[in-house]
């Protein structure tokens, strides 16, 4: 469903992503892991067609995101790192706008808006202004706009960041319930999140792919933390320190 091949991206002299390849099959939830600044957001922006790759290809459902961009973009729902809300619009009006922008048929717009508001628990908030929402609700509206055209591919950039424990739980439940017919790529640096909801994990560090594996193939008794740290430590010894920092962060994430 999603095929990323030899993807590289550099900004001037800075190489953000280097020769990354991975695949996500239809119906899979793929966890995209890496320390902060590893290139997760860059990769997701390329997958969704927001920016071009310096080299390499991304194919969505058989369509190249660069050469067949409009058709490929039609199949993707995308939640960027910062939920893309217009602060002076009401939730309902905003979702209606995104629905039309995503080419939902005129007659189906209202039902699509009602449906995603229901799924994301926003029904009672329809008239609230986006700019006045709490972080958790902004995130929910962000997920709602990604779902509105019922896309076969969902790309979620850190969907649970900045949420309180109950909201994290709710969003995770939501993502799990969305799987099945959809392919979902979600980025995170919270390891338990991956073991809880993903089928497959891709770990990148410093712009390079260090691991791509089915979660079921990870030997029993080995925790994802160990796999993650080993994978990153193998990369270079110097990065061990930052990996330890990541572990602390992971611990914090875990206690949530």
């Amino acid at each position: 469903m999603i095929e990323v091949k030899d993807l590289s991206k550099s900004y001037g002299n800075f190489v953000a992503v280097q020769n990354i390849s991975f695949k996500a099959e239809s119906g899979q939830i793929l966890g995209f892991l890496g320390p902060n600044g590893a290139g997760k957001t860059t990769t997701m922006r390329i997958i969704t067609g927001y920016m071009p790759a310096s080299s390499g290809t991304v194919v969505i459902d058989g369509l190249d995101i660069f050469t067949n961009s409009l058709e490929a973009r039609r199949r993707i729902g995308y939640l960027p790192e910062i939920p893309p809300l217009y602060s002076d619009m009401r939730i309902e009006a905003y979702l209606r706008f995104v629905a039309k922008l995503r080419n939902v048929k005129r007659a189906a717009v209202e039902s699509a808006v009602d449906h995603v508001m229901e799924v994301c628990g926003l029904s009672s908030m329809a008239g609230r202004i986006c700019g006045q929402l709490s972080k958790g609700y902004r995130q929910r509206v962000g997920v709602a706009q990604a779902l509105i055209h019922d896309p076969p591919v969902l790309v979620l950039d850190e969907p649970t960041i900045g949420l309180d424990p109950r909201q994290i739980h709710e969003i995770r439940e939501l993502i799990r319930s969305l799987a099945g017919k959809r392919t979902i790529v979600l980025s995170t640096h919270i390891l338990p999140e991956v073991s809880q909801i993903c089928d497959r994990v891709v770990i990148i560090n410093d712009g390079r792919l260090v691991l791509e594996e089915q979660l079921s193939e990870i030997p029993a008794g080995t925790s994802l933390e160990e796999v993650f740290l080993q994978a990153i430590a193998k990369e270079t010894n110097e990065t061990t320190l930052s990996a330890e920092e990541t572990l602390e962060e992971v611990g914090a994430g875990h206690s949530n």
Binding site: R45, T48, G49, Y50, M51, P52, L70, E71, R73, R74, I76, Y78, P80, E81, I82, P83, P84, L85, Y86, S87, D88, M89, A93, F97, V98, K100, L101, R102, N103, Q145
Partner: protein, 257 residues
Amino acid sequence: MRNTLVIAGKELQGYFVQPVAYVVLTVFLLLAGWFFFALLRQFDEMVQLIQMMGQTQQLQNMNLNTRVIDPLLHDLSIVLVIVMPALTMRVFAEEKRTGTYELLLTAPVRTGEIVAGKFIAAACFTLIMIALAWIFPLILMVFGNPEVGVMFAGYLALALLAVTFVAVGLFSSSLTQNQIIAAISSFGLLILLFVISWPAEAGGGRAWALLKYLSLPDHFSTMVRGVIDTSDIVFFLSVTIVALFMTQRSVESARWR
């Protein structure tokens, strides 16, 4: 086409919930009213003076079009230079800053449609603003006897000028995520359109003649005098189209960098 209208509709609604748009509208109309009042008072004074001196012959030369509407429209063209950058500065810059740009550019929409939608909305708002300033000709028509055709040509010139300013403003806004930078650069470009012919005033060859052709005030004045010449309309439309084309390129450039 549907995408363009979707974006235009959303943007236009946006103007009516934003304080900036109302401030621009208010400043424009208040200043217009002040200029109108001042010009009309001067006109009145002069008519009384001429009557006192008993030179009724001279009264034939007192003309509401040339003494009130013509200078009013010139004043308003300057007001537009100042307020239009404020109206258009946020159009792209704010989307880049808040991250909604990512929503627009990952939607199955062409960049041309995005630019067209935003242009249509801003142009509509501006035309509403100028239509409201038609109150001054109306007042003159109730109490005096101005030539309606000439006033119409003048307002058409003002509308074309404002739409051109919108296109230039969109281009500036598409270059940056900082609204102040967008406003100041479009302000600079608009001023340049007014003074571009200055080095050519001394005369010279064909290259200088081109600069003269690009001079906005010449085209504007001709129309305000009531002469609707195709070449003047072509001038405003070409500047608009060039600016919109450059905006589209600038938005599209995110895809090749």
